[in-house]
């Protein structure tokens, strides 16, 4: 070895020793302190934004591929154009998902370093290997799906649809995988007779993932994402309808809004039950979570949720109403009077039945199933009918009644500790605040919306729908639905996180910071609104950029030629 080589080696060795010593003596960095918001709210903002973007990029491809398939099967170019336009926005928002995801982990590490390290260590394989690989795979397939849209058509269309299916499989698996740590924080795995702290030391990765709330959260998010994707499609359609320059464009975007809303509402119908399943499992995990949600600190958050759900159902029915008003021949469309009678009777009959036989008692379905089938089975034998518009008006009335039952609390108080008689339901009416009444309210909202859609579908079939001639107010309804859906997602996201109370991981890792209290609903509403507006701003930018600015002038879409008056 030459002298210069020996010197270099010694220098490197010296640097390594000094560096290691110096590094060992570096005091640990202080925990970051976010000004104004505080650390917890900072994490909340970034996490919620990330979830909103992720929710869209996972939900939108589900109906994009369905829409593409419908276009292929029906040979209707409108479906293909819809799918392509939504996937264009999805691609832009995909990068926002990655950006906010990276930001989320940085903010978490800076603000809660000990807990974040603890969580990563427990799910190391997920965070270090599985999730990144899935993300990379999804990125590749998403870009392939997008960039092969025009080249893989005709004979190759089936191949392209298959690629879309693959994208959705990867997306769904990604969702399920990341829901593991998320749900674990709410319901860490436990075993009979062993403390959570002890059990966690021996639990396998699968034990930790397959916790009480994992599958309910998966299902809730999956359905929620499709709802969300549908309403965002409605938003895209509303924006582009408002700024359309021709009747053809207006006709197309009117139709697109109709499809987006139908998908959003269709998935929304399942959402209360998925939410119920999640709440049921959370309560089953630890019964004290239930009163915390429904009767204590979070009870008013659920009142607000009830108000939001009611508004969303009212708005979706109002969209149907506006849409029906422009159907030529709608006055001839009639429906059996039994459907209206069942709508009116449903909340009362079901509250009574479910008080006697609470869900999931099999007898609880003994009345419901025949009741909702009566209009279908007996309707054809009973000659009495009502006009479609009257039936829809009754459905509005029942949405309000159902929502009133949903929102009736046991007491108008923010914590059970301060419940006094002047704020409490009279004992004889306490059943209105219990689950049987809430379940029947949810069933009523779903049933009347289904009936409204059946009437709407009948009106479209029997009358003539004039696309592009819908009341302009309907576009604001679509925007309202998207805004309200996002706001509700933000609210329920906050609720799910707050359910951990003063723990990072419930009953396992305490949060010793001064911010581990339950914030007020008003404070939460400010931030939820702020997050919704930021998300809206980015989505609006993505829509304008991809579908307006980037569109070459004079370009004719394949799906444009929609004859006004087409069925």
């Amino acid at each position: 070895m030459k002298t210069w080589q020996r010197s270099l080696l010694m220098l490197v060795g010296l640097l390594a020793v000094c560096g290691a010593t110096a590094y060992a003596q570096v005091p640990s960095a202080p925990v970051a302190e976010f000004p104004y918001t505080g650390n917890r709210t900072a994490v909340w903002i970034v996490a919620q934004l990330h979830i909103l973007f992720a929710g869209f990029i996972l939900g939108a491809p589900i109906f994009v591929v369905i829409s593409e398939w419908l276009g292929y099967r029906k040979q209707d170019p409108r479906y293909d154009r819809l799918a392509k336009e939504v996937i264009k926005v999805t691609v832009i928002l995909y990068s926002m998902t990655a950006l906010t995801g990276g930001l989320f982990i940085f903010v978490l590490l800076a603000t809660y370093p000990q807990f974040t390290t603890w969580l990563i260590n427990h799910f190391f394989l997920i965070f270090a290997v599985v999730y990144p690989l899935l993300f990379i795979a999804e990125t590749i397939v998403l870009y392939m799906y997008f960039y092969t849209w025009d080249s893989w058509k005709g004979d190759k269309k089936a191949r392209h649809i298959a690629l879309g299916v693959l994208l959705n499989i990867i997306g769904t698996v990604t969702l399920f995988v990341i829901d593991g740590p998320t749900s674990f924080m709410n319901t860490p795995v436990k075993a009979e007779g062993v403390s959570v702290v002890e059990f966690i030391q021996t639990a396998t990765l699968w034990d930790k993932i397959f916790n009480y709330s994992w599958m309910p959260l998966n299902l809730h998010r999956l359905v929620g994402n499709v709802t969300f994707g549908g309403f965002i499609t409605g938003l895209i359609a509303a924006y582009l309808y408002m700024f359309s320059k021709s009747d053809e464009e207006r006709a197309y975007y009117d139709w697109m809004g109709f499809v987006g809303n139908m998908i959003g509402v269709g998935a929304l119908l399942f959402l209360p039950f998925m939410g119920y399943l999640l709440a049921y499992e959370l309560c089953d995990y630890d019964a004290s979570i239930c009163p915390y949600m429904m009767a204590d600190q979070l009870s008013m958050f659920f009142e607000m949720q009830g108000a939001m759900i009611g508004l969303i159902f009212l708005a979706s029915n109002y969209y149907i109403w506006l849409s029906m008003k422009r159907i030529e021949g709608v006055e001839r469309v009639r429906i059996t009077v039994l459907a209206v009678l069942v709508m009116v009777a449903l909340p009362f009959v079901m509250t009574y039945t479910w008080t006697l036989f609470p869900v999931p008692d099999p007898r609880s379905m003994a009345v419901l199933v025949p009741l909702v089938l009566i209009p279908v089975v007996l309707g054809r034998f009973i000659p009495f009918t009502v006009s479609s518009l009257t039936a829809i008006k009754v459905s509005f009335l029942m949405v309000i009644v159902g929502n009133a039952i949903w929102m009736t609390p046991h007491g108008f108080v923010a914590t059970g500790a301060k419940l006094v008689e002047e704020l409490e339901l009279p004992s004889a009416w306490n059943f209105l605040a219990l689950m049987p009444a809430k379940n029947s309210a949810a069933i009523t909202l779903v049933f009347v919306t289904v009936v409204s859609y059946i009437i709407y579908n009948r009106a479209i079939t029997q009358g003539t729908i004039v696309w592009g001639k819908i009341d302009f107010a309907s576009q604001f309804v679509l925007i309202f639905l998207a805004f309200s859906a996002i706001w509700t997602m933000g609210l329920m996201g906050a609720v799910r996180s707050l359910l951990r109370k003063y723990f990072h991981t419930y009953n396992l890792v305490p949060d010793f910071t001064v911010e581990s209290f339950t914030p007020t609903l008003a404070y939460s509403a400010w931030w939820i609104t702020g997050i919704t507006l930021v998300f809206y701003l980015v989505v609006s930018f993505a829509i304008i950029l991809t579908l307006r600015v980037a569109q070459p002038k004079g370009h004719v879409h394949e799906g444009s030629p929609v004859p006004a008056g087409a069925k």
Binding site: S195, V196, V197, M242, F243, A287, S288, C290, P291, Y292, A295, D296, Q297, M300, M304, A307, Y318, W321, F396, I400, A404, M407, F412, A414, G416, A417, L419, V420, E421, E422, E424, L425, P426, A428, W429, N430, F472, A473, I479, F480, F483, W487, Y502, N507, P510, F512, V514, S516, F517, T518, P519, T520, L521, A522, S524, A525, W526, I528, T529, Y536
Partner: protein, 272 residues
């Protein structure tokens, strides 16, 4: 223009019908013994229903485009934001101050056991010692003689002194609040009444060790008439982990004092 008078008459007509129905609901709710807040709630629903039915017959909104559409959109978002924030602010608000002290007490033991807690305790001790030393130095300088120094950290009451019974019961009552037992059990006429039994007379039905057994192992006893809740394990099996032994004892001591035979506390049935 021709639609305006008919819409106006529709608004007036439906407004009157809504007011009559709202008034009827208010009256009926008063007769049925609903508190004032619920009566207002019924009226609010009637108003919402009236607004919806007025909206159904509203004339079509004229189409907007260009700058006007952008302004309308921004105004719409502003209205939505104000309505949602305002709406959320109208509900009763939970006061975080109520919880902050509770959380500190609940996590006290865990914090003491944690690395962070140990470090903070050491820092606090060092600070106390430093203050004490500064004080001693100041006194020495002032008096010019030696001063007797109390051990650092002693605050007056010695830790070894036992608590009198009244203190223990007060601590137990505090645990009742901290652990939020009121959410499931009614006591002194306050709190939940569906998930768990009223406990005003539990002191006459269970002995001290039996009460303790029920808290640390909820499946050991079942309240008569609460079979479904017992089967569903409604009472969480977590208090032996969350609470310190002394806190459980204090809660038990408090529960043992509850001897009001006028309240029908269900009979406990031994299961284990």
């Amino acid at each position: 223009m021709s639609e305006q008078p008919s819409f106006l008459s529709s608004v007036i007509k439906k407004g009157i019908v809504g007011a009559i129905i709202g008034g009827a609901f208010f009256g009926a709710a008063t007769v049925l013994g609903f508190p004032l807040i619920f009566r207002y709630m019924f009226v609010a629903y009637t108003m919402l229903g009236t607004a919806v039915f007025i909206l159904l017959d509203a004339p079509p909104v004229p189409a907007l485009s260009g700058f006007k559409a952008v302004v309308a959109l921004l105004a719409f978002y502003l209205v939505l934001s104000v309505v949602y924030i305002g709406g959320a602010s109208l509900w009763p608000q939970y006061d975080p101050e109520d919880e902050k002290g509770k959380i500190a007490k609940l996590l006290e033991a865990k914090k003491r056991a944690s690395e962070q807690g140990k470090a903070e305790e050491l820092l606090a001790r060092a600070k106390a010692l430093d203050e004490k030393a500064t004080g001693i130095m100041a006194r020495i300088q002032t008096l010019g003689g030696p001063t007797e120094v109390a051990p650092a950290g002693s605050g007056g009451k010695s830790g070894g002194v036992g608590l009198v019974a009244g203190d223990v019961i007060a601590l137990g009552k505090e645990q009742w609040q901290l652990q939020e037992c009121y959410n499931c059990h009614k006591l002194f006429g306050e709190g939940g009444k569906k998930r768990g039994p009223e406990l005003d007379n539990i002191g006459n039905l269970l002995k001290l060790d039996e009460l303790k057994q029920k808290i640390v192992d909820p499946q050991s006893w079942m309240a008569e008439g609460f079979e479904k809740e017992y089967e569903k394990k409604k009472m969480p099996d977590k208090y032996k982990e969350l609470m310190e032994e002394k806190d459980i004892d204090a809660l038990v001591a408090f529960l043992a004092t509850l001897k009001n035979p006028s309240v029908n506390t269900p009979k406990p049935i031994k299961k284990k």
